[in-house]
């Protein structure tokens, strides 16, 4: 009986194991600069949570890794992918923000400094385990062995010189309250983190407000960038991602402002038509439902007043 069970287990289990390979292929996007571009889909068993853009810069002093991906398995694959590109050791990790798709690969980098804004570390401390649990639910086995590793070091906004690259670190907050954007002044590459989504609907679970986000976009756009790496979606050499972000944030804001004026309920706003011009942006309906949950209570409360006696 037992061999039979074992055989059956192997039959079902082996193909599943064999598929858990992220097949990361770094693509060079500028001098010394590499990108691992994720899909613009949602978290799913099929993609293992690889929906995110991860970058690294091969400096004279070692490799600066920007974000670590959605799982321990991804972090390990990222490390191997870096080793295929360069012999240089990893010098440090910079985390753009605390969301799970950007930081749950940290376990593969515990031998190097993992750095983030102070606010990012605090948010990860508060929310990391719950976010990791949800990732297990959404992408399943890919997450096996993944645990939250908090950044060991705090970075301050300012200029960071590493191995011949001059990195300008900006401490912003429109997406999560603590968002690090990194402009490599040496190459002109702007790692915008999730302050910029392109062709993929933006997410708002920790956003302090869409107005804050719009201000951050203004700050980023004025920088001397030549290439934008969004947190999600394709890279761009023009300002199309900024234009789309402003348009989309403006639309989201007007949906909720007008909804609050009319006394709309959440479910009514979750069903509003998505403008045709966002047809090329993935997951708009899904993210609208989420954003209404996150943000509408604030808009609605502004239209209510104390009426108790």
């Amino acid at each position: 009986m037992r061999p039979l069970i074992l055989t059956l287990l192997l039959c079902f289990a082996l193909p599943a194991w064999a598929e858990l390979d992220y097949r990361l292929e770094p693509r060079q996007i500028a001098e010394d600069t590499w990108l691992l571009e994720g899909s613009t889909d949602n978290f799913a068993q099929a993609n293992g949570g690889n929906i995110v853009n991860i970058g690294f810069i091969v400096t004279g002093a070692g490799v600066v890794v920007i974000d670590t991906g959605p799982s321990r398995r991804y972090g390990e694959a990222l490390r191997q992918a870096i080793a295929r590109v360069t012999d240089k050791p990893v010098e440090r990790v910079l985390l753009t923000h605390h969301h799970p798709d950007h930081v749950l690969g940290n376990q593969a980098f515990t031998d190097v400094p993992i750095q983030a804004l102070a606010g990012t570390t605090e948010l990860l401390r508060q929310q990391g385990n719950a976010m990791a649990d949800n990732m297990y639910r959404l992408v399943g086995d890919w997450m096996r062995g993944t645990e939250v590793v908090l950044p060991g070091e705090t970075v301050e906004p300012g200029v960071l010189e590493v191995g011949g690259h001059r990195l300008r670190l900006l401490g912003l907050g429109g997406h999560t309250g603590a968002d690090l954007a990194i402009l490599d002044e040496t190459t002109g590459v702007l790692f915008a983190g999730d302050l910029v989504f392109y062709q993929r609907a933006l997410t708002t679970p920790n956003s302090p407000g869409l107005d804050v986000w719009l201000d951050d976009l203004k700050t980023l756009e004025q920088l001397p960038w030549t290439l934008i790496v969004p947190g999600h979606g394709p890279v761009a050499r023009n300002d199309a991602p900024f234009a789309q972000m402003r348009d989309y944030l403006g639309w989201l804001d007007s949906v909720m402002r007008q909804g609050a004026q009319k006394g709309a309920d959440m479910n009514e706003l979750m069903q509003v038509p998505i403008p045709e011009r966002f047809a090329g942006v993935s997951l708009t309906r899904y993210e609208l439902i989420r954003s209404v949950s996150h943000l509408y209570p604030r808009y609605a409360a502004e239209r209510l007043r104390r009426v108790d006696r």
């Binding site: 006394g263 959440m266 479910n267 009514e268 209570p297 209510l304 006696r309």
Partner: protein, 249 residues
């Protein structure tokens, strides 16, 4: 389903003026149980004229918005019961809208896991018209620590009501948010403490509609009603500790 309701359904089906469908569209294992427990086994039709709107997934399992509109059955509605089938506390509310209230209610609820949600509308002829929806969820909404109680001085805000009145043609929409922890007894040794009664009253004190609430309702309950005309309306609330609150719209 018992023989009697089957027969009744068959008769209704033959008479042809009800979009009767005898089978649970969600095929939930718990349907029969709640049909007996909350609807007392009375005749039921799954009726698309009852609109039940829920998001396909709960972004926040502690605050899941549901919107029920039985206007298509206006004039016939006796009461509306809503429940979340796989919740530890399934019953959400029982609503008795009077003739001047629209049979419409929006409210936010807690879900402990992915669950079918039902809205059952009893009409004068003794038939329950049921709408069904499913909400996916990471869960934990019923057993999550209280957000209200984590705020210092929350007791000072107990029973405060934020409200707004939004004219919408024949009806005015009333939206309100009540400060109350709505403790459901499932969290860390905190006993049940929740708003269990609400009434909307006209200026002369007459009752426009009555609402029984259960602690599947979220903390700081958020409610939407629609009332005919623009007369001043008063909301009366009571919790299970006997605290009473009133607000004017």
């Amino acid at each position: 389903m018992d023989m009697r309701s089957l027969l009744l359904l068959a008769l209704l089906g033959l008479s042809g003026h009800l979009p009767a469908e005898g089978k649970d569209p969600l095929q939930s294992a718990m349907w029969d149980f709640y049909h007996r427990r909350l609807l007392e086994g009375a005749p039921v039709v799954f009726d698309q004229r009852v609109r039940l709107e829920v998001p396909p997934f709960a972004e926040d399992a502690r605050q899941v918005p549901i919107h029920i509109d039985a206007s298509a059955l206006d004039g016939e509605v006796v009461k509306i019961i809503a429940w979340a089938e796989l919740n530890p506390i399934p019953h959400i509310f029982t609503f008795h809208p009077g003739p001047r209230l629209r049979p419409l209610l929006a409210i936010r609820i807690r879900v402990e896991q992915a669950t079918p949600i039902r809205a059952a509308v009893l009409t004068r002829d003794g038939v329950w018209h049921v709408a069904s929806a499913r909400v996916d969820a990471a869960g934990g909404g019923c057993t999550a620590p209280s957000v209200v109680r984590a705020q210092e001085g929350w007791e000072d805000h107990l029973g405060q009501v934020l409200g707004g009145r939004f004219p919408r043609g024949e009806f005015d929409r009333l939206r309100l948010e009540v400060s109350h922890p709505m403790d459901n007894g499932l969290v860390g040794g905190i006993p049940e403490f929740y708003l269990d009664q609400a009434e909307l009253r006209a200026a002369d004190g007459s009752v426009l509609g009555r609402l029984e609430l259960f602690p599947a309702v979220s903390e700081n309950p958020s409610l939407t009603f629609e009332v005919r005309g623009d007369e001043p309306t008063r909301l009366w609330l009571r919790d299970n500790s006997g605290n009473e609150f009133e607000a004017d719209f």
